[in-house]
């Protein structure tokens, strides 16, 4: 949509500013973005500077107090902890997801579509149901515990459920496909001949990976990071169900403000802080990408 590239002699078709037809075609998207992204965000921004009435209604008088409270150590700590959990989740997703994506991308074409189907299959079942399934797997009297005990690998019943470990397992499980799919799509496009060229020029396997393969698949990795890291910070269902609501993440705190605590302005302020982190992560990734 940039108009900068228009020159006196006229730019190429693709670079021109959209004409009437272009805008008409864009209209549904623009309206959708306005109605469901721009306007709600503006409402959130306005609410975040309002006060809470005694009934929990939003009172329109200006205050900084919600932000002061959001930056209080007890909430900052939760935010940092959420970022840490999300970072761990992202790291595990890359470590587990990259080889899987690479393998699928290099597999025989017919096998490839079947493998991709396997990655997508879980989406056909409700996310909450799958989380409950993990609860039955991990609980003390569950399948995994019984198997490990009968194999004499552990003596006590498994006590993973309702711990931070369970939360990380749940998060990695939930977001893994969002890491595999973008890496797959960039790995699939990678030309085999550049790997051969690298090897012909004397680079070893490790050097080829870090100097050739990784930079060329970086767009996939960075898309995956964005798709995993950002939503993982805000997740609240998994912390409630698999973490036993013991370890609050920022998503739980925000959800509580809009529900039980009836404090929409404070929830809005937390949401805006969260949004700023989104933007920062995105900008950071874009910068790395443009350097690469």
């Amino acid at each position: 949509m940039s108009t900068i590239s228009i020159t006196a002699s006229g730019g190429s078709q693709a670079r021109r500013a959209p004409g009437l037809m272009g805008w008409l075609l864009l209209m549904p998207m623009v309206l959708w973005l306005a109605a469901f992204v721009v306007i709600p965000t503006l409402i959130l921004l306005v609410y975040s500077f309002c006060e809470r009435g005694s009934f929990g209604e939003v009172v329109y008088s200006f205050t900084w107090e919600n932000y002061v409270r959001a930056l209080d150590w007890r909430y900052l700590k939760i935010l940092l902890m959420s970022v840490w959990y999300a970072a761990l989740t992202t790291a595990f997703c890359i470590v587990i997801g990259y080889p899987v994506a690479w393998f699928i991308a290099r597999a025989d074409v017919r096998l490839r579509s079947k493998l991709l189907l396997l990655i997508m299959l879980p989406f056909w079942i409700s996310f909450l149901l799958r989380t409950y399934a993990w609860i039955s797997l991990l609980k003390a009297e569950g399948v995994v515990s019984a198997f490990l005990q009968s194999a004499s690998l552990i003596t006590e019943p498994l006590s993973i459920l309702y711990t931070p470990t369970a939360v990380i397992i749940g998060l990695v499980y939930a977001y893994l496909p969002f890491m595999i799919l973008p890496i797959y799509s960039s790995a699939e496009k990678l030309d085999e001949s550049v790997i051969e060229a690298s090897q012909d020029l004397g680079a070893g396997a490790i050097r080829t990976f870090f100097k050739v393969i990784l930079p060329l698949t970086w767009p996939g990795v960075s898309a995956g990071v964005l798709l995993v890291f950002v939503p993982a910070i805000g997740m609240f269902a998994i912390t409630d169900l698999m973490g036993g609501a013991r370890v609050p993440m920022v998503g739980n705190v925000i959800q509580a403000q809009f529900g039980a605590a009836r404090n929409w302005p404070f929830g809005a302020a937390l949401g805006i802080c969260f949004l700023i982190i989104f933007v920062a992560v995105y900008a950071l990734l874009r910068e790395r990408e443009s350097k690469a």
Binding site: R52, S54, F55, G56, E57, R69, D72, R74, Y75, K77, I78, M81, K139, A140, E141, S159, L161, Y162, D240, G244, A245, R246, V247, P248, V253, A256, G259, A260, A261, R262, N263, F266
Partner: protein, 344 residues
Amino acid sequence: MIEHPTMKTTRPLIVAAMLAVAPFASAKELNLFAWSEYIPQSVIDGFTEETGIKVNYETYDSNEAMIAKLVGGGGEYDLIQPSEYAVEALAQAGRLEVIDRANVPNFANLSPQYLDQPFDAGNKFSVPYMVGTVGIAVNTEKVKEPVAGYADFFSDKYKGRLVVLDDGREIVSWALAAKGRSINDITAETLAEVKPLIASWLKNVKLFDSASPKTALLNGEVDMGIVWSGEGAILVQEDAKFAYILPKEGAHMFIDSLCIPKGAKNKAAAEAFINYILKPEVSKIISDEFPYTNPNLEARKLLTEEQLKNGASYPAAGKLETFKEIGEVSSLIDDLITELKSDL
């Protein structure tokens, strides 16, 4: 802040959504806004069959959500089902209609024990629906020593074997009772006083769950829990190894009531519904499905001996107190519980 045990499935929500699609006001209809999983569908169907009044049933899962929608003008309701402190808050704000007792003759069936409470003296605005307590459910096969109150329950012996409601106000009320204070004595000072006690308690909790605390007890993940009495009653029904105990230091009793919001368009229909629900045979159906304490003495006569002997539904006398509306102090409770949880 009370979240009910009755919010598990979305089935009533779907039904409500389907019913709510008809915006055309027929002369005979009732817009009911109630807790999810708290009014049996057969009772609603029975009411429509008897009176010809169509019921549009919408549900909520916390008093706070209900108040938010009522205040925000999200819908026009004829009948709501707030708990005691929510009745108080709404009545004080002038948001409830006075119920015309002449239209509710079955009011006489109610036990005086649950009437004329401080939250609504003389029951001008509210009629009790179901009553319950918050108490301790014990798996007696795993916990051999007697547990009488919060001090025993939160003992370090049981570290990692406990489930409690995920509800800040409830947790604070237990600590206040343990300190010998009223469970409504919530100020910045009293919260500071109970903070170390709550911190030491929460370290021993394995799981916080308001929606269905009984599940973790049933599948053996924990051995004791502080639960809603309706959940406790189901545990006792399911397996005799479970016992329900009212903490000796004092416990929260909630009275969920039926109220008519100010400006309701179908006030007569709402009063007819209240009267219908107070019929002994109808009230019995509610008890069968949701085994809380039935305040309807005529209905209790129809219950089986087993139902009446269930110590969670009908506990022996204890030190009970209802919640009062606390207003803005609730954000201090939030801060406190959030901070203590993030230290776990």
